[in-house]
């Protein structure tokens, strides 16, 4: 989710960086063990894929559209750790190379959407695919985990935003950072993501149906 820099307190994004950095290191170690230096070209392409997938517009009812997040497709097609690292690198490139900003929200997006959201998708898919693969409900093994992953990630982001008013006010009582509390951020952020998450889940299922061979899997 693109949140401009300046809305989140340094205590939060620096703490998020401290939390996510060891997970990045763990991801690199795990993937390098499996792929050695051949990880480099594969991860580069996955990062580019994550970047360009996020430019695809998914259609919403009413003629509007929203950006695809792509984390569901990446996790299921390529594996959790590769998807997590590629998603994080994509955020870094967006902020620093393409000047789109979001450097302070990078660790938060990486944690919430990449790690937790991606983790929910990976675990959910693993739990369901065995049961549903050979049935006519096989698309649920993609739709449900993707929807759940995006919903959980959106909830976490809503919580992060919602605690900002607690992190300081000026002398006149006006907030220093994002001003709305959890009671506002939860419905405002989570509700739309329940819709977009479901549609992204449907789209991910449709894509993976067209792409049976998972040669990008790591």
């Amino acid at each position: 989710m693109h949140i401009p820099d300046g809305l989140i307190a340094p205590q939060v994004y620096l703490a998020a960086t401290a939390l996510v950095a060891p997970v990045w290191a763990l991801g690199v170690r795990r993937l390098t063990r499996r792929l050695d230096e051949r990880l480099i070209p594969r991860l580069a392409v996955l990062t580019a894929l994550a970047f360009v997938l996020s430019t695809i517009m998914i259609p919403l009812p009413g003629g509007t559209s929203a950006h695809l997040i792509g984390i569901g497709l990446l996790v299921i097609a390529c594996g959790f750790w590769a998807a997590f690292l590629a998603f994080s690198l994509m955020l870094l490139l967006q902020a620093v190379v393409f000047g789109a900003g979001g450097i302070t929200t990078l660790p938060i997006n990486a944690l919430c959407m990449g790690l937790v959201g991606g983790g929910v998708i990976a675990l959910g898919h693993r739990a369901l695919i065995g049961r549903l693969a050979a049935t006519r409900w096989s698309m649920l093994a993609v739709l449900l985990p993707v929807w759940a992953g995006i919903a959980v990630a959106a909830t976490l982001i809503a919580l992060v935003l919602g605690i900002q008013p607690l992190l300081g006010q000026d002398s006149s009582g006006q907030p220093l950072y994002f001003p709305f509390r959890i009671a506002v951020t939860l419905p405002v952020i989570v509700m739309p993501h329940l819709v977009t998450g479901a549609i992204e889940g449907l789209l991910s299922a449709a894509v993976l149906e067209i792409l049976p061979a998972r040669r990008l899997a790591t």
Binding site: L7, L93, V96, D170, Q174, L176, I199, L202
Partner: protein, 188 residues
């Protein structure tokens, strides 16, 4: 510019982001914005347009929402609205300027693997972006009448699938290309 320069710039920019995100005085933020505008250099009008396009929706929504709520409660709101908007614009403009000056792969060249990764990723982004653009043009040209939701969904799905297939062949080609030049030899 040497890697050391890029690294210093990167660190300076990151430090500036942390410092600025702790500035709350609208006056100070206003002076900072003025300084950035003066010192920005070439491309300022385009940069401003880009920054405003990127932050307008969120900033206007948050500012209006807060202001209306505060006005109804008869609480002050101006300082917050100024603080929020000035700080966001300052940081976004600074980041845009920094991105034009810093070569990230040089700044991070203490890790050769990371450097190669960043160089390759940037090249692949351009390649896949071209494909995505071609696909969108192709889809538009073959659908002169706007499609219903189902049709648009299928279009988006096929676009994503085409990108993923291309990514697969790119990954294989890149691995072969690097192997051909002996990149993996010293480690095998």
């Amino acid at each position: 510019m040497s890697s050391k320069c890029d690294r210093c710039l990167l660190l300076a920019w990151l430090a500036a982001v942390v410092v600025i995100s702790q500035l709350h005085d609208p006056m100070l933020l206003g002076v900072l914005l003025a300084a950035i505008l003066v010192l920005y250099g070439r491309g300022l009008p385009g940069a401003l347009k880009r920054v405003l396009a990127a932050v307008a929706l969120v900033n206007i929504t948050v500012s209006l929402g807060f202001a209306i709520h505060a006005m109804l409660d008869e609480r002050p709101w101006l300082e917050f609205v100024l603080r929020l908007n000035l700080r966001v614009v300052v940081l976004t403009l600074l980041t845009l300027r920094a991105s034009q000056g810093i070569r990230l792969e040089r700044a991070l060249d203490f890790s050769p693997g990371l450097q190669f990764l960043l160089v390759l990723a940037q090249g692949q982004i351009r390649a896949l972006q071209r494909l995505a653009a071609d696909f969108r043009f192709g889809f538009t040209s073959r659908n002169p009448v706007p499609l219903a939701l189902g049709g648009r969904m299928q279009g988006a799905a096929r676009q994503a699938a085409a990108l993923m297939e291309k990514a697969e062949s790119h990954a294989e080609a890149l691995t072969e290309g690097m192997q051909s030049r002996g990149f993996f030899d010293d480690r095998d």
